[in-house]
């Protein structure tokens, strides 16, 4: 529970769109099963007064916060408007924004993140599936039923690959404390380093699985920043250079950020690197 628990109240920005409405419903189903508060309000400018799956919609985050007890928002606002919405939530006093949106221009992300930081607001994403603390809190779109509570944290740049790893761990009887999708964009709010810092302060988490991919060097940066026992997996060992592999940030550029050298650097730090996702549970078990 590094980003909240069952008492956390959630605001959804972009509540009346297809994605927003669909996931308000799923987040509230999970809240019902786990005794959480779930989504208490939605925001879509110009759609104030409507209801989505019984959740009241407001014109602004400020109005939603005035009438509801909520400290975190989950963002489904489309790409070109999402940067503005991040700044709106940060300015209104939201403490944690989970930006699900894919396709935000990176200049918008950069400015919105700098603005949010000035307001003391934490941003997860963008282009991420959000976080899941099994049995406690779901912020975003992760399918919760593959997961089970436990003491292994997961941090990942990917969505479905994370579900694959959750699935493998659960099948092996290894539960998860919190699963964090940090996003597939080149510029993201919470990095591996930031999330690891929270896991260090979390009594529940005993080991962390770090799921990285080609592009940048945030994996190595994170791995050197912590004393927590780690298992890593890097996707994209077969990825060709200069090609964007689905994620905006998954690209080997100027000979940097390829999987082979990432894996070599992680191994040099003495960190186990799984050759394939199904090898992860056995490596985790050795650490526990």
């Amino acid at each position: 529970m590094i980003y909240g628990d069952h008492t956390t109240g959630i605001i959804v920005q972009g509540a009346t769109g297809n994605q927003g409405a669909f996931h308000i419903n799923l987040m509230n189903q999970y809240a019902k099963e786990t005794g959480g508060r779930g989504v208490v309000a939605g925001v879509t400018p110009g759609k104030g007064g409507q209801k989505v799956h019984g959740v009241p919609v407001y014109n602004s985050v400020r109005e939603a916060m005035a009438e509801n007890d909520a400290s975190t928002s989950v963002l489904f606002v489309p790409g070109f408007a999402a940067g503005d919405s991040i700044m709106e939530a940060a300015s209104a006093g939201i403490e944690l924004i989970t930006a699900i949106t894919e396709g935000i221009p990176v200049h918008d992300t950069m400015r919105a993140l700098a603005f949010a930081r000035m307001e003391g607001c934490t941003v997860i994403g963008p282009n991420c599936p959000g976080t899941l603390s099994p049995g406690e809190l779901k912020l975003g779109i992760m399918p919760p039923h593959l997961a089970m509570p436990g003491n292994v944290g997961i941090i990942s740049r990917s969505g479905t690959l994370t579900y694959e790893v959750i699935n493998e761990l659960t099948r092996a009887g290894i539960g998860q404390s919190t699963v964090v999708g940090i996003g597939g964009d080149p510029v993201i709010g919470q990095t591996f380093t930031d999330v690891l810092e929270r896991f260090e302060a979390d009594a529940q988490t005993k080991a962390v699985v770090l799921i990285g991919e080609v592009g940048g060097n945030l994996e190595e940066e994170g791995a050197t920043s912590t004393d927590l026992p780690l298992v890593t997996y890097i996707a994209g060992i077969s990825a060709p250079p200069e090609k964007r592999m689905g994620h905006a940030g998954a690209i080997i550029e100027g000979g940097e950020g390829d999987a082979v050298s990432k894996i070599a650097r992680l191994r040099k730090l003495g960190i186990p690197v799984a050759g394939k996702p199904s090898d992860i549970p056995a490596l985790v078990r050795e650490l526990l």
Partner: protein, 363 residues
């Protein structure tokens, strides 16, 4: 998307960066009517999007009288397999000194970062390697600033001429205005007539192309473009195992697993979240349309993907190649039953699917 030199220079000029006098031509003969505008020597530059163009012979410095011949040569001269559609002909500048400057986005600090070197015109990685940290200066600053602060500009320039400052500032404006991932001038030159961007490189953020008025991403192959229009992320590779997955990471991991078991993937295709019947059908047909594909792996995992829909999409596609599927999600049993009834194979783990596909591709 990468812009060509002349396109980048147009944007630079609009942002107040001096560029050499020049013309863009689509055929060698077109150059004849422009030659009067030049004095003596000209630089004839092939407009292809590859690095090391100069070394490969794509830039010719010549007397005005021979410029048409030089252009004729370059129009049929392939550089790394690419033939130019346009050629840029420019005045030859009386260069005093060459510098390097670029602005990119630093993932670690989440900020714009300026790189500056007092020796430009050459391979900048080489300068970084041989010249030490002082040879390539790096300065980052808040993206909330609309221009480069003076104290940082002094840090960037060191003993280099102050006139470079306004050009670097304008480069930052061009970088922001064009949603660039990279804006580079190499070389940035000083002359008796002032400072000029002798070359220009701009890479535009694919997520901002619409906002920049760019409708089609030229970096893509026709099949990649078709995939993009359908909302897929798609990359062509060279093997014989077609791959369809959902999510970039899982799809990449499927490709890696194919390599792990000594197979070769034909492509990367991420269908995106919550793919239904129609999207799956289109994806399967797209991959099946690649000439070398012998067998197709479908690896879909997700809470919102409905397996019965996926199964229907695979069956609708009705392709010749064998499709091996691994599905996990809602209505898994219905999906399995549908596929089994129609003679399609379904396995429980991505490893089993990949092993089977590698075996069939090798057969």
């Amino acid at each position: 998307m990468k812009l060509l030199e002349f396109e980048a220079k147009e944007i630079f000029r609009n942002n107040g960066i001096p560029i050499p006098e020049g013309v863009v031509i689509k055929s060698p003969d077109e150059l004849r009517r422009h030659l009067n505008g030049f004095t003596d020597e000209v630089v004839v530059k092939s407009q292809v999007d590859v690095g090391g163009r100069g070394k490969a012979g794509g830039i010719i410095v010549t007397q005005k009288a021979d410029a048409v011949e030089a252009a004729r040569h370059l129009f049929s001269f392939p550089i790394k397999g690419l033939i130019p559609k346009a050629i840029l002909v420019e005045e030859k500048l009386p260069i005093d000194h060459e510098y390097y400057v670029s602005i990119s986005i630093d993932r670690t600090t989440r900020q714009p970062m300026i790189l500056f070197a007092e020796t430009g015109g050459v391979d900048i990685e080489e300068t970084a390697r041989t010249g030490g940290p002082e040879a390539l200066r790096r300065v980052g600053f808040s993206p909330l600033l609309s221009e480069v602060p003076g104290f940082l500009m002094r840090q960037i320039l060191g003993t280099a001429p102050k006139e470079l400052g306004p050009v670097i500032n304008n480069l930052y404006k061009a970088f922001c205005a064009s949603d660039a991932l990279l804006a580079e001038i190499n070389p940035l030159v000083t002359t008796s007539r002032g400072v000029f961007a002798a070359d220009a490189k701009l890479i535009i953020d694919d997520n901002a192309l619409i906002r920049q008025g760019i409708t089609a991403n030229r970096d893509l192959t026709p099949r990649e473009r078709e995939a993009e229009e359908n909302g897929f992320s798609y990359v062509e590779l060279e093997g014989s195992i077609g791959v369809i997955g959902n999510g970039a990471g899982l799809t990449m991991s499927t490709l890696d697993l194919i390599q792990h078991y000594d197979g070769k993937a034909a492509n990367f295709l991420d269908v995106g979240g919550g793919a239904g019947r129609e999207r799956v059908m289109k994806a399967v047909r797209l991959v099946a349309g690649m000439p070398d594909v012998k067998v197709i792996v479908v690896n879909l995992l997700g809470g919102i993907t409905r397996c019965d829909e996926v199964a229907k999409g695979i069956i609708d596609a009705g392709i010749d190649q064998h499709v091996i599927t691994r599905l996990a999600g809602t209505n898994e049993e219905e999906g399995k039953a549908l596929l089994a009834k129609n003679g399609y194979q379904m396995l429980d783990t991505m490893e089993d699917v990949v092993k089977q596909a590698v075996k069939e591709a090798a057969a």
